[in-house]
């Protein structure tokens, strides 16, 4: 059985005539890393809100179809319980900090306090996560005094400490400077090996190409492509669907158009270098 299943889901935000999501049907498997790409207003964040249970519990609106998480309809999930099951990191690093904790250490522990974990377990878990995300040097600092990138790292740490099985990450680098973006890339790299089910919304397709098992392309509230990362990102029609294409994939297409095709369309730089070397007979 799939971890998350969506069946003919259509959703209208309150007071909105146009649906944010239209007739969406798809499944998400346990332990896989999914990338979600697409144009602005394509429904990516709405899909995240749905998977996170914010739709219909927080944003009311009109929800049609069926969404099940671990076999239970999303409408029947208690939001508190669901938040322990599905972690959520979103765009704005400044609003993800509680604002009521004096140190990063306490900030990261906040979710565990809410879950009622014993103190020893809480401390050990916070230390583990801070080490994992390399924020041990920030532990004694005030969360309100951190940069955007550092706050985003703390937001990730706070969610990871809760040890949710599923992580929904919505454009985590969109408001960050290059250093902050690099920090988040490192976190994504770390998460890759944790065995969690991850859904990452991101415009930086190079990141998606490198880490994701499968990619969904959203346009006009619909999923217009879904499949293995190499297949979806190599699709020549991707720009017409409102999604960016990795530059190396565009290079692969240009080579093919010039009558010098590579063995396959590359989606990562490493792959492109390998294919070019092979074409030149170096390998």
């Amino acid at each position: 059985m799939s971890l998350i299943e969506l069946e003919n889901v259509t959703y209208h935000y309150p007071f909105s005539k146009e649906p944010a999501l239209r007739q969406i049907s798809c499944t998400f498997e346990k332990g896989k890393f999914y990338g979600i790409v697409g144009e602005n207003g394509g429904g990516k964040t709405s899909l995240c809100n749905l998977l996170r249970g914010l739709i219909p519990h927080f944003y009311r609106g009109k929800l049609e179809g069926r969404v099940t998480i671990d076999g239970t309809d999303v409408q029947d999930w208690d939001t508190g319980r669901l938040s322990a099951r599905i972690g959520y990191v979103f765009q704005n690093p400044f609003t993800q900090i509680s604002g009521i904790k004096a140190t990063v250490f306490e900030e990261v522990a906040m979710g565990l306090e809410n879950l009622g974990r014993p103190k020893k377990e809480m401390v050990d878990e916070v230390l583990r996560v801070c080490k994992l995300l390399d924020i041990e040097n920030l532990m004694e600092k005030s969360p309100n005094a951190l940069s955007g990138g550092q706050r985003q790292r703390v937001a990730f740490a706070s969610i990871l400490a809760m040890d949710a099985d599923i992580l929904v990450i919505d454009e985590p680098t969109s408001q960050l400077d290059p250093q902050g973006t690099q920090d988040v890339f490192e976190i994504i790299h770390t998460l890759r090996g944790t065995g969690k089910t991850i859904l990452l919304v991101e415009h930086k397709v190079d990141l998606i190409a490198e880490y994701c098992d499968e990619v969904l392309v959203m346009q006009g509230g619909q999923i217009v492509r879904k499949g293995p990362t190499a297949q979806v990102l190599a699709d020549k029609e991707l720009p017409q669907l409102g999604a960016l294409q990795p530059q190396v994939a565009m290079f692969g297409h240009a080579m093919a158009d010039a009558g010098k095709p590579l063995e396959e369309i590359p989606i990562t730089l490493e792959q492109a270098l390998r294919l070019v070397r092979r074409r030149r007979g170096e390998v």
Binding site: R52, G80, S83, I100, L112, N114, K119, V123
Partner: protein
Amino acid sequence: MYSEFVQKFFSPQTTGNWFKDLNPLTKLNLLLVLAFTALVAQSIPCALGLCVFYYLLAFLIGEFKYFSGIFSKLLITVGLFMVILRQFTVKGETVLFDLFGWNWTLEGLLNGLKVGGIILGFSGAIILFYASTEMRDLMYTLEQKGVPHTTSYIILASFQTIVDLKASVQTIFESQKARGIEVEGSLLTRAKAFFPVISPLMLGAISSAEEKSIAMDARAFSIDTPHTFLRELRPVPGWEKALNLTADLAFVAFCVWRVLTIFVL
């Protein structure tokens, strides 16, 4: 083996200062007793004594700079305002001096000092409480007493929001300045610059509030499991309870004495 910083969370949080380490509710009780004493006493020497005591206590707890910065301003503004105001509203016969045909009377001066003293005696206690108590400690104590988690969060977050809004105003002002709009200068110039800022500030605050509530939801804030606390305060010792009780009884006795002196004796 934990670092010294982490190890601190395994024992009650203390500062080493006897007054600051009192339970927040004890501090609140003691300071409210003093505040209401000023109100009930309605006497200039009592208010004056309380003001001196507040300064002394602020010095002893290492918060003199913070306390005196706020309280001294209040002392001057409220004191002056009340003294001047009472010259208008209180009729007196003992003229102290004449200022451009306006008679300043002893009765008006004493009344102004008395009312000002009550306000200062009351507000000094409140300022001292904020100077000596971290809000998170107060909220922790209230939660232990059964106040809902959500209520304590809203109170704490509201304090932080004031800081955030101040920062937002500054950011908007900087943007306005970059566009060549005058935001500094006379009161009128500042007012003219401030009004257009209000709507983006409020809209930003509403949007932030929505995102913040989602962020809190992501931290299992609404889960029905009993919460635990990483940071805990020391249990209230017997002597502190006795101190509370003594202060309350003394205050009740003082009130009774005041009523008797006014109406019976």
